[in-house]
Symmetry: C2
């Protein structure tokens, strides 16, 4: 071992000991004949002291050390004359006797400090230096802890970690697969799993009873910001359970993780809300309930006053921004521009200022009297000093737009405290969504999700209305995870595939093994999967998952550090019976 | 929840309770008006009792239940009249009040018993039924426990679990990569990692200090028996360490795993042996030291007696099979045939019987007198009643053949007890191997392995003689893991790439990021990786890894259950800018 102690370990009671330390030069300061070097490793920082009076040559050597040099020193632990209370090792320093440069370092392309001068692209290119920064290591440390505590908790309640295969079969349903050509079976391909869904269901048929896995999954999607082609799931499945059992079990997990990893305790049960209610009140299936500003349906008070836009709108929604009646024209114009951006896509925005003096001022005074506006204010529960923001249009669209506006206002008004955590179970998702492009139903969750017992009849009568035994856990406006009670009956599964437009042959070819398995005694089962990247980022109070992943890819799916993907040798292609055919 | 208790939970003190159980029908027996059903789940078996006197209809229903039906029952826990001491639940049974068939089952294609009538191919096709068997579940349970205990142990000594990417870059060095076409970067490919080697080294440059990961790795090799295209590694790396630190740390891990997972404690330190010694004494770099039968070099006593084969042989080796002088001609002929099989490839085998009466009988009596043979016997340390088996030829070949013969004799004589565990560190591996085909050196371990300090000079003078700071942990004739102290100096790494025949450009293109990283302050570091599949199989006393993997592939790399790999749609190929070009 190159050291007797780490750089975060020595304290006042080590004084007098001879120690050997190794690490990186964080910074150094010269003060007259003295040189002070901060030596850093993963565990902390220890100050090294050199003195020209004691050893002039050694002191001179210490002044040759550059930032990020890797050194090893032997010295005596002594008490510091001026203590640093910000450092756990701040009471002591090392009076160095010998200095050994283990590896020199070029000057890094950005400073290795919590606040760095490196831009995103540069940091990604030199990610191995970026990870030296404490702010990044803290995120990886949190991830490590969350993963291990997840395992400990699930193990303690009899979940078994079972590894499922990575080289599986492509299914055209769902997102696009990454595929892997098979050299031994020319012309054939494996696919990388988008999730271990079918395998975990097979494990329930196998009687594993409780399964979990922390597992990489892959999706070949056009990457939006903060999406990664490979991501990690906490994937779980249980037998002989109903929805209530899953919710309780995994509420337990989330509470355990916050307790052990963030020292945060939740009071009482996580609140629950149906999908329908969430859409009505927040326009989102993952509402951020850290703040109010709920939707108010203004249809009953805005129609038939000559304002054509509202008269023709399917839905008119208002939200109350508290104490914002003071917003200037400029601020309101800016908000209007914001909702009109193509990403949001609103046609315009109406506002009503409820002034402190009780007067009302709106952008539609031409159509609505003070009495009319008074009705709005009452319906919305606004108080003097508040501002009402109104959007209108088709139900789905206006909800989506208003959700964005609400979150934006939440950010503007500082209502989204990253260190406040508000979980919410969202229940009773629709089973199917109608897809206009393909003119057929798609599974909202996936084709293995069971309909609610009371809605099975709807599968024939009005499939779009059927609700699923599906649930999501939302937190702070983010979907942490979701799952469902599965179909465990071959007939029902068959009907689902019909509804989703599979021919018998397609269903058999793609999922025959699962349907066959259901014939040999499948237990009732259900499960859930959490996105680990997203969970850890949320627990860390961050919006972006990028820094919680050691080696992330950029928005074009490239690893700029190793420069992947890359061309293959012609030989390799030939071995795989493949030719590149760019169009 | 469909149950109040599992099928492994109820005991004598539960008598009188009303319980709900759910599980699979293992078997049922009719005895007069009584029906007994064994209900099974992952946790155990509980006996259900039905009685026509109490409820004739219910008793009749119970007689309709087939093997592997999934049922739910409500009933009262009662004391059994004839207890079953082989079952933890054997003191009680359930007097059933209501019976609910949750799912019927077709008769399974093989019996769900520890001893099954299913062949390998059938079991793999219906792997989800195979896993219902206790003998398979036990193996997956052991794997689960080994993985979790590995994590706990490494975490307790400050190793951090860091996930490295699966979509990386192909490198022509080493085994063949599986590749993944990138749709977003037409004509370019990712590769799946053969190991996270370069990433874990980068994490050391990042200051992570101690890294581990239990991670899937991929190798596109022509599959030998018991090789899988995807396999799992316990992958570890440490900074500021020397070889001794790695050996101690991971000896600790292995001891912890055997203690916690098998309740086996090793006495003292694991023995160590150099590669050179292992090859000389056992002809193997992973010798099975559960038994002796070491190699004896007979060169000094067999030459110049007119036996041309020995005279021309580079090496003549003898092993002693204790108490086997009684072997019949037939047995000896069979052994000779065995070593002459193409898999072993010996030209023939010479034997010497050292009879109980002190007389000697050999297959080469024509050339060697009793006095000559007496010298052999003394050199080999054989005693009356023993048999000496002799092979000869080129050093490397004869060692390999004799290793096979030794292991075969060990099996024959019952010297390889699967429940005895003999670890052995094998040290000082050669750095390079000369490859006749390509007429150049290959890295024996990998190109990042450091030469022994005292052998650095040999890199110029006689590279083939240089020893590496590389080590393997062998157990019972199996390589459980291996690793090395890495090169952390750009210059030395560069020289290694030269020696291995890389041009500067190739080295820069493939490993430029690592060599660059070494310029920014790389710490001395080293690591090790264990094959989890192999480790668990060895701990489970099994030769084959197959049953320790939930969903293994067959020897053609196929998953016969899901039928992967498979053809892709033409659309998918087009999206990937690929065409299949079978030759």
């Amino acid at each position: 071992m190159y050291r007797t102690h780490t750089c975060g370990e020595l304290r006042i009671n080590n004084i007098g000991q001879e120690v050997t330390l190794a690490g990186w030069v964080q910074r150094s300061r010269e003060m007259g004949g003295m040189t002070f070097v901060d030596l850093r490793d993963r565990f902390g920082i220890t100050q090294l002291a050199f003195n020209s009076e004691d050893n002039d040559a050694l002191n001179k050597s210490s002044r040759q050390l550059g930032r990020e040099f890797v050194i090893q020193i032997v010295g005596e632990v002594i008490e510091r004359s001026s203590k640093n209370t910000n450092l756990p090792t701040g009471d002591i320093e090392i009076k160095v006797k010998t200095l050994n440069v283990l590896n020199a370092a070029k000057t890094p392309p950005f400073t290795i400090e919590n606040e760095t001068d490196g831009g995103d692209e540069l940091r990604m290119q030199y990610r191995y230096l970026d990870i030296r920064r404490n702010v990044i290591q803290d995120k990886l440390r949190l991830r490590n802890k969350v993963a291990l505590e997840t395992r400990k908790y699930l193990d303690s309640i009899h979940f078994m970690d079972v590894e499922t295969p990575y080289l599986i079969k492509s299914t055209p349903e769902g997102a696009r697969d990454f595929v892997v050509p098979s050299r031994m079976n020319p012309g054939e391909f494996y696919a990388l799993p988008q999730s271990p869904q079918t395998f975990k269901q097979l494990l329930m048929v196998s009687g594993i009873d409780r399964y979990y896995q922390i597992v990489k999954c892959f999706r070949d999607e056009d990457l939006r910001a903060d999406r990664q082609p490979e991501f990690t799931q906490i994937d779980c499945e249980m037998s002989f359970v109903e929805q209530e059992d899953i919710l309780n079990t995994f509420e337990g997990l989330i509470k355990h993780l916050f307790k052990t990893c963030r020292n945060i305790e939740f009071e009482g049960d996580f609140p629950r809300m149906t999908y329908a209610e969430a859409m009505e009140r927040y326009g989102s299936d993952k509402p951020d309930i850290r703040f109010g500003m709920e939707f108010n349906n203004l249809n009953s008070v805005v129609k038939n006053k000559g304002f054509k836009i509202f008269d023709e709108a399917e839905l008119v929604l208002g939200i109350v921004a508290e104490d914002c009646a003071v917003y200037t024209r400029k601020q309101l114009d800016k908000l209007t521009d914001w909702v009109k951006r193509p990403q949001i896509g609103a046609q315009g925005m109406v506002y009503v200022k409820y002034n402190e003096d009780g007067s009302l001022k709106s952008s539609v005074d031409k159509f609505y009297s003070q009495e009319d506006l008074k009705e709005w204010v009452e319906l919305c529960g606004a108080k003097p000093g508040d501002l009402i923001l109104v959007l209108s249009g088709e139900t789905d669209k206006v909800r989506k737009q208003m959700n964005e506006l609400r979150l934006h206002m939440g950010d503007e008004l500082g209502l989204r405290n990253p260190n406040e955590f508000k979980p919410l179970w969202v229940l009773d998702f629709p089973l199917l969504e109608w897809d206009e492009d393909t003119q057929r139903y798609h599974a909202m969750h996936h084709p293995f999700t069971s309909p609610k017992k009371e809605d099975v009849g709807l599968l024939t009568e009005d499939p779009g209305k059927a609700r699923a035994n599906a649930y999501d856990l939302a937190m702070n406006g983010v979907e942490l995870g979701g799952g469902s009670i599965r179909i465990h009956d071959k007939e029902l599964q068959s009907r689902m595939f019909d509804l989703l437009g599979f021919t018998k042959e397609q269903a058999a070819e793609q999922f025959g093994f699962l349907m066959n398995a259901f014939e040999f005694g499948a237990p009732p089962h259900g499960g859930i999967a959490f996105g680990l990247d997203r969970l850890v980022a949320t627990m860390g109070g961050a919006d972006s998952i990028r820094d919680f992943i050691a080696f992330p890819k950029n928005n074009s799916g490239r690893d700029v550090m190793i420069n992947a993907p890359a061309n293959l040798d012609e030989d390799q292609l030939q071995e795989l019976s493949l030719a590149v055919k760019k169009s």
